[in-house]
Symmetry: C2
Subunit: 254 residues, 2 copies
């Protein structure tokens, strides 16, 4: 059996009781840190679970995934995934491969930035449009996709959740905004930057993108949301109380 267990938003304590139970009763446990980089490592998880936790590389999950799947025919193999498993296509492909080879799979869900943004920012779930990732330039070319998504969301008065590239290193908000500015007129848009979501030293700050670019969010992981052109009064109030939003944001209230 192949068991995907989410370790949740930030540290080892964000795993669920169910996840811990499955991990403890399994034969082998592995952690992958390719699709997310929270405050978690094999040592803290080994101590918690009471057995050695191996680290998987990208190739273990992708081109060499057959090895894991074959082992899972005989043994219960756990793959610990930061956040909620299967949000990354790397995991969905692995689950499909396992099914095709007759290996049973289980998913134990956990907290994810996808829902946590609602509590962190107070932005209404119905107001989010499509999400996008801001990637590092490829051959010096900056992708326009995130700006296209932001603009198409703004047309339907929707917020945009932007994931920041993790490789070769976790991107910070200032870099992300610089990249957006290279391909779109976004500086005057309001946004919310979030650093280290789910940790005790999380930082949440709402302002125009040009100001967020100058703001010191500290260490990764970072994530960025651009706001819809008009916002609900309750969204404004929440951002004022919990994201130090400037008074000028009130002009967006519909």
């Amino acid at each position: 059996m192949l068991i995907f267990i989410g370790t949740g938003l930030w540290d080892a304590e964000d795993i669920s009781l169910k996840g811990l139970r499955y991990a403890r009763s399994s034969d082998e446990v592995y952690l992958e840190l390719y699709t997310s980089k929270p405050n978690i490592d094999t040592d803290s998880l080994s101590e918690l679970i009471g057995k050695e936790v191996g680290l998987l590389s990208r190739s273990d999950l992708e081109e060499n995934s057959r090895y894991l799947v074959e082992k899972a025919k005989e043994r219960d193999i756990v793959i610990l995934v930061p956040g909620d498993p299967m949000v990354a296509t790397t995991h969905t492909a692995l689950r499909v491969e396992a099914k095709k080879r007759g290996v049973k799979t289980v998913i134990i869900h956990s907290s994810s930035i996808l829902s946590a943004v609602c509590g962190i920012t107070g932005l209404h779930i119905y107001k989010f449009g499509k999400s996008a990732t801001i990637s590092y330039p490829y051959r010096e070319k900056v992708s326009k996709t995130p700006v296209d998504v932001i603009e198409s969301n703004r047309k339907i008065n929707a917020h945009t959740l932007l994931f920041l590239d993790l490789h070769p290193e976790p991107m910070k908000i200032d870099k992300a905004i610089s990249l957006l500015e290279q391909v779109g007129n976004v500086s005057e848009y309001y946004g919310v930057g979030i650093a280290r979501a789910g940790s005790e030293n999380m930082v949440v700050k709402c302002d125009k993108l040009k100001n967020l670019k100058e703001f010191d969010f500290g260490d990764p992981m970072h994530i960025l949301i651009t706001l819809s052109p008009r916002i609900h009064f309750m969204e404004f109030e929440y951002l004022r109380e919990f994201a130090d939003a400037p008074d000028t944001l009130e002009k967006l209230v519909e």
Copy 2:
């Protein structure tokens, strides 16, 4: 202090280790079941946490919320919320009120259907547009909003996550589709129905909406997704393997 703790997708074992630690060290613990109805109750949580868990009504959270907030000035009050807290505006309003009255708040996140749909259906996170709720008719009038959201998402080739009304009783998928059909030409659209997400007897089924309406999903909670007009090959493969999708779905692969 007012502490919002997510209990996660389905049962008491979906709470995180961090959530359990906070609940055990608090002065009073309450559960609210107004915003979601998973397989959880005060008895199972009392046993887990080791102290009595009270049940909150809607009025405790809304018009009479001042009472809770005042108590939280002196004591550590935990509110257990199914799924991830703050996705419902009921909780965001309460957190703002607490902040205004000088009461510290903490959120402990947990698993939510918002991210779990990715693992359950294999649908790509970037492909989801705005979400909507299918409500029971109000004064015999069926809301057109969900159909409008579905149609505007289809224009940008996006999936639509549809929450089903909980009151006076959790709506089932057949009822939800009937309501959609009363205000839109949706019968031929493909969708995915999910029943009891995160449980051991979860049911996931992909088909045209007219066929999902006839499918027996069993007990609530139910949730419904309508697919974008074109889908990725990996989305098709996942739905074929894990949601018993019909062969005809392959026509949508782009």
